[in-house]
Symmetry: C2
Subunit: 497 residues, 2 copies
């Protein structure tokens, strides 16, 4: 990567293979770039391999099917060997100015004169790092965040001698490997992000030192609250929204007095009229055309998405939501009207969620089977063959499914599914679900399913007995009196009605 | 909510209906609790209604189908009217000690003597708020975070006179409405969360004042980096993982010197051996049996989930991932080997993700249709009927699906689907997908699908023409020479092979 019209990076050198250096190596390799790594740690190869395993798994999930062929990882024995054929160099050594300066001299002795060097320093000043360099114009800070292969942020900060071309090219390069570069315009210790992180971290250390809270309590104070917002909106935009309809100026006037309260060990600047005006102006610019109502909706949508994502992981605030859901679901089940078994059972009620919509602007096909799967689970639960039954060694597996799509479902619409038991004996259970739009009863789809009763340990079919068999036979008998639903037993290829 | 064996809250009073008060009102109402709100703001009803619209939409998505019948919202004209029949009271007035003390006196004059009062104060001391109360034992801080109806955190902090029963009961109540209560054990200005938030906020104000960064740059420095981690792990657990295999002590010794650097305006405590030991001990306790490797995996899983969630919203770091994916996908398409059209097309390759596994310990049925849907999309893309074609007014909609489940898929297994075009004309397209386990070629499922070509605006079938029709006919002709796959045209009810 040299000259204003830089060629793509094909071979990067990583100097320092700790947590940050190996994270860089993983990001570059998974973007198809060959990487030479130097670190005196004798255990380097094993540590790099561990990080790579994590990074491969994570990126395969985040970017399924599109990653290029992985670059080649070369572990080398010296700084010189690492940089001599590199067209980009990333330095990730411990945070000691003298050490970094010495290694930069070693790098310059072996690397081409216009190969860009990015330093991962969390807060040392690039003007000082480049002081003794022969080609200081190609040194720039590229400060990433752990895990480097997943977090998009990289702060770019030039020193007094850094050229504009270096800043521009390094931004394009980091962007090409999936990052979000943030140009730090004013060289300052800690740049931007670490000044904020460090303030929070130092306050946290005081809290532990003073016995106010434990590390667990402090972490919980973040991850169940403001941390969830910080994943997508920073502190200014969040406070703008909190200010409500009256905007940022109102918020500042409301919370300005609190800046004088001893709520942290950090003294606040005077909230002069000039400062308040400047913040309000910048905040207006940041929000652009988005009203507070718009921002509230984006905020809520993102929070719902994040909480739902964490709920699937059953971690942190996601566990809270999961438990809450289960308690509510139990209550909702108990509150439901008694079921009339002479009619198809109404066991599924739900709404079309935003993430169910595909590029055709309607509920995507897999979600129909998800709804039918939920209806099947509800029926199994009803006949006493739910998760507890599975834990005790038996279950029903679906072996065949037939879906007819008859109408479209749009986001937010209420859905209802009814379930008819077409047949059931000691081995099989044949179900027919009808999915309707709750507002007008329009049939959106039907699902016909054949299930087999199985022994969970042996993973093979097994005979049903006891209460479950009695419930199956009772429902099959009751529903035998109902008309056979249209579409039952249909095969694809038959004429479309 | 009174007495040690407290009855469930049926009627709550909200004093102060600003952003926080109306957020409380929404959370309580959506949990089926009747709510009386008092606020002198003449515009209260409209503002409450707006928050409720947001809250209903958000919770319907987060907790589909399980919310109880909404409570009744009553807007009242005085504090007395609000609290007289309430069995729980939440105060959310502006952060002025004298104002809160005066209103607490009003509340006590009208409320039952043992009804618990939660104060939403962000950092005022409960011991001072309860100074002049007749029944100070029932006052406790319950400090929530905006939006109150979505964020789980609520800090509980008692004053000198708060009873243990009050603390216990208020925790149970907040938990019952879906929150994560954090007991603040030592009464301190700003409690725990706001001390951290306020340190970060004050540092941010300095950065704007000193012209180092704008509000947008500061927000970006959070939401593209550390903010993504803070959504599920706090600062101590994250740093424990960053310390790598050598653990928290190593991390502290490595970054201890940086505490002396001018990286924030906040001075750090001395990192004495005692403090380092205490932090390491608490951090060990916090991590429990989880190794650094375990924590790394949890961290990466949560980050992937959150980034994927934000990608669906196309917001913040999610937009970065979306653009990155599109660039990679374009490159991947260009790099792909030429496809042999005389055989079924291999257009889908992927892995069984953890969230695809159901309580039977195998890939759940809806994911089979998701995979088949992806294979169908890939085929449509291949014949020139992908998203761009849809944007131009035409698409293919699936009208019928038949799935046979022949084997089970376990987490992490690699999958591959091949697609045979059974038939295709100017209106219809009939596909047959075969899903196999990549390791040994075992057939896991087959999917037969009938698709109809449609006019997207009219939402009705329309004739195909041009390049897409030529591609359909070319593939249908080429695949006509292949054997008809087993199971084609099968209907449910036919004997199982």
């Amino acid at each position: 990567m040299s000259g204003p019209a830089a060629a793509p990076v094909r071979h990067a050198a990583i100097i320092g293979g700790g947590v940050i250096g190996s994270g860089w190596a993983a990001r570059f390799l998974l973007n198809g770039i060959d990487v030479s790594v130097y670190d005196p740690d004798p255990d380097l190869a094993r540590k790099l391999a561990t990080v790579l395993v994590n990074a491969r798994a994570a990126l395969a999930q985040l970017l399924p099917g599109v990653l290029p062929q992985e670059g080649k990882l070369i572990i080398v024995a010296s700084v010189e060997e690492a940089v001599s054929s590199a067209d980009f160099i990333q330095e990730s050594l411990p945070e000691r100015e003298d050490l970094k300066q010495a290694v930069l001299a070693q790098i310059e002795a072996a690397a081409g004169p216009d190969v860009i060097i990015g330093s991962s320093t969390s807060g040392l000043l690039p003007s000082r790092l480049q002081q003794r360099m022969r080609h200081p114009e190609r040194l720039v800070v590229g400060h990433p965040f752990n895990p480097v292969y997943l977090l998009p942020l990289v702060e770019i900060c030039g020193g007094a001698a850094t050229s504009e071309a270096t800043r521009v090219q390094v931004e394009a390069f980091y962007r090409s490997v999936g990052m979000h570069p943030l140009q730090v315009r004013k060289e300052i210790d800690g740049f931007i992000a670490d000044r904020l992180l460090e303030a929070l971290w130092r306050e946290a250390l005081w809290l532990v030192r003073d016995g106010v809270a434990t590390t667990t309590e402090i972490d919980d104070a973040i991850r169940y609250g403001a941390g969830l917002r910080w994943a997508f909106m920073g502190t200014f935009l969040i406070y703008r929204v909190a200010g409500g309809e009256s905007g940022m100026r109102h918020f500042l006037s409301q919370f300005g007095p609190a800046l004088k309260l001893p709520w942290t060990r950090l003294e606040a600047p005077d909230l002069t009229d000039e400062l308040a005006d400047e913040i309000a102006r910048q905040s207006d610019e940041q929000a652009g055309a988005a009203s507070i109502r718009d921002l509230e909706r984006v905020r809520d949508r993102c929070l719902v998405s994040i909480l739902s994502a964490l709920r699937r992981e059953d971690f942190a605030a996601g566990s809270t939501v999961r438990r809450y859901f289960e308690v509510l679901a139990t209550k909702a089940r108990r509150a439901r009207a008694p079921i009339d078994e002479s009619q198809p059972l109404m066991l599924y009620v739900g709404n079309v969620l935003p993430e169910w919509i595909d590029y055709n602007g309607h509920m995507t096909e897999a979600r129909y089977l998800e709804v039918f799967g939920n209806a099947t689970d509800a029926l199994l639960d009803y006949i006493g063959a739910g998760p507890e039954y599975v834990a005790n060694g038996h279950s029903y597996f679906t072996v065949e499914t037939h879906i007819r799509h008859l109408g479209e479902a749009a986001q937010g619409q209420s859905l209802r599914a009814t379930t008819q038991v077409l047949a059931g004996d000691t081995k099989r259970l044949r179900l027919f679900h009808t999915l309707v739009r709750a507002s007008d009863g329009l049939v959106l789809a039907t699902g016909e399913h054949m299930l087999l009763h199985v022994d969970v340990r042996a993973r093979r079919s097994a005979v049903v007995s006891g209460d479950v068999l009695r419930a199956v036979e009772r429902l099959a008998n009751a529903h035998a009196a109902l008309p056979v639903p249209t579409g039952t037993g249909r095969a694809i290829g038959a004429p479309i009605a």
